[in-house]
C-alpha cells in the first residue's frame, strides 16, 4: 500500500478543462472518496492516477516516486470500472486470475489458486468460480470486479462508481461489505461516486469536485458539518439543506420574505448573507421561538419530512416517524443555533 499525491494536476480536452489545478494527498490505508456531480472530473482524476490519461500539467507521485512517465502496467494500481470490465469470454475464476497471470507478475498457478479462493471467500462468490461472467447478476458481476482488484494487493485501489448500476437494496449491502473489506485489508482506496450517501458512509475523507475544481477536502463530519460552500452544503444530506436569504439589521438576522428573525451569532457577518439550516436542526417544539404552517408531509417511515411555511419561505424539517402531524396545522419550531451555517452571498462559508 502506498500514499498518493497529486500536485497541481490540470487536464484539458480541447476547450474543456476537465481538471483544473487539482492537488490532493491520499494517505496510506485511507478510504478517499471523490464526490461530485456529472462532468465534475472524477473519472478523469482516477484515469490520471492510473496512467490511462496523461495530465497536461502537474505530477502524480506514489510514495515520493514520480509516476509521470510510468505506464499503467508499471504503476501497480487496480481499477474497478463502473461496468464492462469483466471479460465475458472467461469464467469467474479466470477473470480473478487474469491480473495475477500478467507477464509482470507471473504468479505460479498454485498461488493464484490460493489467492483467488481467498478473495472469492471474502466477497462470498466462491460458488460462482466456474461460471461464465455473462451469466451473473449485476451484484455478482460487481463483486467479481472488486475481487479482481483485491486478488493482487496493488499499491492503490481505484474504483469508479462501482455500485451505481445496482439496485438500491443491493447497493446498501455491498456498501457495507466494501467498507468492511477496505478496513480489514487496510488498503489505500480512491473511490468515485456522485451519491452523497455512499460518500458519507464509506469515506475516511471526502474530496468534493465540481467542474474540474477541488472545492473541499475533509472527513465526512467536516463536509457535513462545515461545508465550505453552499454547493457542498447542498450536495450532502437528504433532504437538502435549507438555504435562506437573510439580511442583517442591528444585530438581528431577518430571513427575507418571512417574519423569522434570529439574533446574530457572529459579530462580523455581512449585511447580506445566506443561512444554511439542515432539516434535522429545525425542531418542532411546543414552545418554539418561530411559528409556521405545515404545507406538506412526507412520511418516510423512520422519519417524516415536514414542509413548514412562514411568509413565502418554506423550511424542511425532519422529525421522528412516529410523531403525528397534519397538513395545515400551525406549529412552533426552533432552529439549533450553533448548527446554523453562514454563507456570504457568493456561497462562501463565513
Amino acid at each position: 500500500m502506498s500514499n498518493i499525491r497529486l500536485e497541481n494536476i490540470t487536464r484539458r480536452f480541447g476547450e474543456i478543462v476537465a481538471l483544473d489545478d487539482v492537488s490532493l494527498t491520499v494517505q496510506d490505508g485511507e478510504f478517499f472518496v471523490l464526490l461530485g456531480p456529472t462532468g465534475a472530473g472524477k473519472t478523469t482524476t482516477l484515469r490520471v492516477i492510473a496512467g490511462l490519461e496523461k495530465q497536461n500539467a502537474g505530477h502524480v507521485i506514489f510514495d515520493a516516486h514520480s509516476m509521470d512517465d510510468a505506464q499503467p502496467a508499471d504503476r501497480d494500481v487496480a481499477f474497478v470500472f463502473q461496468q464492462y470490465s469483466l471479460y465475458p469470454n472467461m469464467s469467474v475464476y479466470d477473470n480473478l486470475a487474469f491480473p495475477l497471470r500478467s507477464p509482470l507478475r507471473k504468479t505460479p498457478e498454485a498461488e493464484i489458486k490460493q489467492r483467488v479462493t481467498d478473495a472469492a471467500e471474502k466477497l462470498r462468490i466462491n460458488h460462482l468460480l466456474e461460471r461464465k461472467t455473462a451469466r451473473l447478476s449485476g451484484g455478482e458481476m460487481q463483486r467479481v470486479s472488486i475481487g479482481r482488484a483485491i486478488v493482487r494487493s496493488p499499491r492503490v485501489f481505484l474504483m469508479d462508481e462501482p455500485l451505481s448500476n445496482l439496485d438500491a437494496k443491493l447497493r446498501e449491502s455491498l456498501r457495507v461489505e466494501l467498507k468492511h473489506i477496505q478496513k480489514v485489508q487496510h488498503s489505500t482506496t480512491v473511490f468515485v461516486t456522485h451519491d452523497q450517501i455512499e460518500a458519507l458512509t464509506m469515506a475516511d475523507r471526502i474530496g468534493v469536485l465540481d467542474r474540474g475544481k477541488l472545492l473541499q477536502v475533509g472527513t465526512p463530519q467536516d463536509i457535513y458539518d462545515r461545508p465550505a460552500t453552499t454547493f457542498v452544503a447542498q450536495l450532502v444530506g437528504t433532504p437538502r439543506i435549507n438555504l435562506l436569504r437573510t439580511a442583517r439589521n442591528n444585530g438581528a438576522l431577518n430571513i427575507s420574505h418571512s417574519d423569522l428573525t434570529l439574533s446574530a451569532g457572529h459579530e462580523n457577518l455581512p449585511n447580506d448573507l445566506l443561512l444554511g439550516v439542515r432539516p434535522e436542526d429545525v425542531r418542532l417544539v411546543n414552545d418554539g421561538q418561530f411559528e409556521g404552517v405545515i404545507t406538506l408531509i412526507e412520511p418516510l417511515g423512520v422519519e417524516t419530512i415536514v414542509h413548514i411555511r412562514n411568509g413565502e419561505q418554506t423550511l424542511l424539517s425532519t422529525i421522528a416517524g412516529n410523531v403525528q402531524v397534519r397538513i395545515g396545522e400551525a406549529v412552533r419550531f426552533n432552529v439549533v443555533p450553533d448548527r446554523i451555517h453562514y454563507f456570504d452571498i457568493d456561497g462562501k462559508r463565513i
Binding site: A50, G51, L52, Q71, P72, A73, R75, D76, V77, A78, F79, F81, Q83, Y84, S85, Y87, P88, N89, F98, P99, S102, P103, L104, R105, S137, G138, G139, R148, R152, L158, N165, D167, K169, L170
Partner: protein
C-alpha cells in the same frame, strides 16, 4: 400470499434484483411450430434454384435438357465425369479394347458408356484449387490487416483520422470494371499477370477498405474499459489486444471473413481479365466447360455445385459467430 409461485419472466430469481432483460414471456409452443413451418417453406422457395442445380448435376445428358423437365430420375455421375476429364470420341476398336480392361475407374466407365475415351484431366480441379488458395490467402491478409488498422482507428487519436477513413472507403467507390484495364496493363508490366500473388494482392487490397470499416464498427462496440482494465492489471497493449480484444471481436472477425471470402470466391471480372491459365480461378471457367458435341449442362451444374460447397462449409464453420453477428443490435449493453 403464495410466495412459492413464480413470477413471470423471473423464475426463482431474488426479487430485489432489477434487470430489464427478459421482458418477453414464454411463447406458446403452437406459435413456435407455425413459425418453423413458415420458415421451412420460405427456405424451400428460396432454395429452389440451388436444388434444381444440384438435381441437374446428377442428371444424364438427355435428362438435363429434356422439356418438360424431369423431376424424378436415376442419379448418375455423368456430369461430374465430364467436368473432371477431357475426352474424345472413341473408335469401335478402341471401345472393344477398353471393354477388355478390368482396371477402368468410374470416370472411364462413364465415358465408355457414352462411347468416349478419357484422354486426361480437365483444368477444373486446378482452377478450384486456385480459387481456394487465392480466396484463403487474400481473406487472411485482408482480415488481419483490417483488424489491426480498425483497432488503431477505433482506439487511438490519429491525425486526420476522418479523412483517412473516408479515403479508405473511397477505394471501394470505383466499379471494378472501370479499373480492370489499367490494372491489367499495370500487372502485365510488373509480371503479375496470371500469377497467384497478383490475384491475392488484388483481392486483399479490394477487401481491405470494406473490412476496415466493418471491423471498426465492431471494435467500437467493445468497451475500452476491457483493455484498460487489462492495462492496469499489468499487460501491455499488444497483450491486451490479443487476450481481450480479439476474442471479443470474434463475431466481427467471422462476419468480415465470410464477406471477404465470398467476395474473392465469387469475383468474376478481374479473374477473367487478369488470369488466363496458371492462376485462373473457378468462376470464369465454369461456364466454359465445353463438352464434346454441345453444352454439357450437367457438367456445368456439377461445377457450380462443387463451387458452392466451400462457401457452405465456411459459413457452417463460422455459423455460431455469424448468428451472433446478425443479431448484434439486440445484444444488451452493460
Amino acid at each position: 400470499m403464495t410466495a412459492a409461485t413464480q413470477a413471470p419472466g423471473a423464475p426463482g430469481s431474488p426479487v430485489v434484483i432489477s434487470t430489464r432483460v427478459d421482458k418477453v414471456g414464454t411463447r406458446p409452443k403452437v406459435i413456435g411450430a407455425i413459425r418453423a413451418v413458415i420458415a421451412i417453406i420460405i427456405a424451400f422457395i428460396m432454395l429452389i434454384p440451388v436444388i434444381w442445380m444440384a438435381m441437374t448435376a446428377f442428371k444424364s445428358r438427355p435428362e438435363a435438357v429434356s422439356a418438360p423437365p424431369v423431376v424424378f430420375f436415376t442419379p448418375t455421375l455423368e456430369g461430374f465425369a465430364s467436368l473432371l476429364t477431357q475426352r474424345r470420341q472413341a473408335t469401335t476398336a478402341e471401345i472393344a479394347a477398353e471393354l477388355e480392361r478390368t482396371d477402368l475407374n468410374w470416370m472411364e466407365q462413364i465415358a465408355l458408356s457414352r462411347g468416349q475415351l478419357v484422354i486426361g484431366q480437365s483444368a477444373f480441379l486446378r482452377q478450384l484449387l486456385n480459387s481456394v488458395v487465392i480466396t484463403g490467402l487474400s481473406t487472411f491478409f485482408s482480415v488481419t490487416f483490417a483488424v489491426l488498422s480498425a483497432y488503431a482507428f477505433s482506439r487511438f487519436s490519429i491525425p486526420g483520422k476522418d479523412d483517412l477513413l473516408f479515403f479508405i472507403l473511397s477505394q471501394r467507390m470505383l466499379p471494378a470494371v472501370v479499373v480492370t484495364i489499367p490494372i491489367f496493363l499495370m500487372y502485365r508490366t510488373l509480371g503479375l499477370h496470371d500469377t497467384h500473388v497478383g490475384m491475392i494482392l488484388l483481392y486483399t487490397a479490394f477487401n481491405l477498405s470494406f473490412a476496415v470499416w466493418l471491423l471498426k464498427g465492431f471494435i467500437d462496440e467493445i468497451p475500452r474499459e476491457y483493455e484498460e482494465a487489462a492495462l492496469v492489471d499489468g499487460y501491455t497493449r499488444l497483450q491486451a489486444f490479443r487476450k481481450i480484444v480479439l476474442p471479443q471481436a470474434a463475431t466481427g472477425i467471422a462476419a468480415t471473413t465470410v464477406f471477404s471470402a465470398i467476395f474473392s470466391w465469387n469475383e468474376y471480372a478481374f479473374a477473367l481479365m487478369l488470369t488466363s491459365d496458371l492462376a485462373r480461378t473457378a468462376p470464369p471457367s465454369i461456364p466454359l466447360v465445353l463438352g464434346v458435341g454441345g453444352i454439357e449442362w450437367a457438367a456445368i451444374a456439377a461445377g457450380s455445385l462443387a463451387f458452392l460447397i466451400p462457401a457452405v462449409i465456411l459459413t457452417f464453420v463460422l455459423r455460431k459467430h455469424l448468428l451472433r453477428g446478425v443479431t448484434f443490435g439486440a445484444i444488451r449493453k452493460g
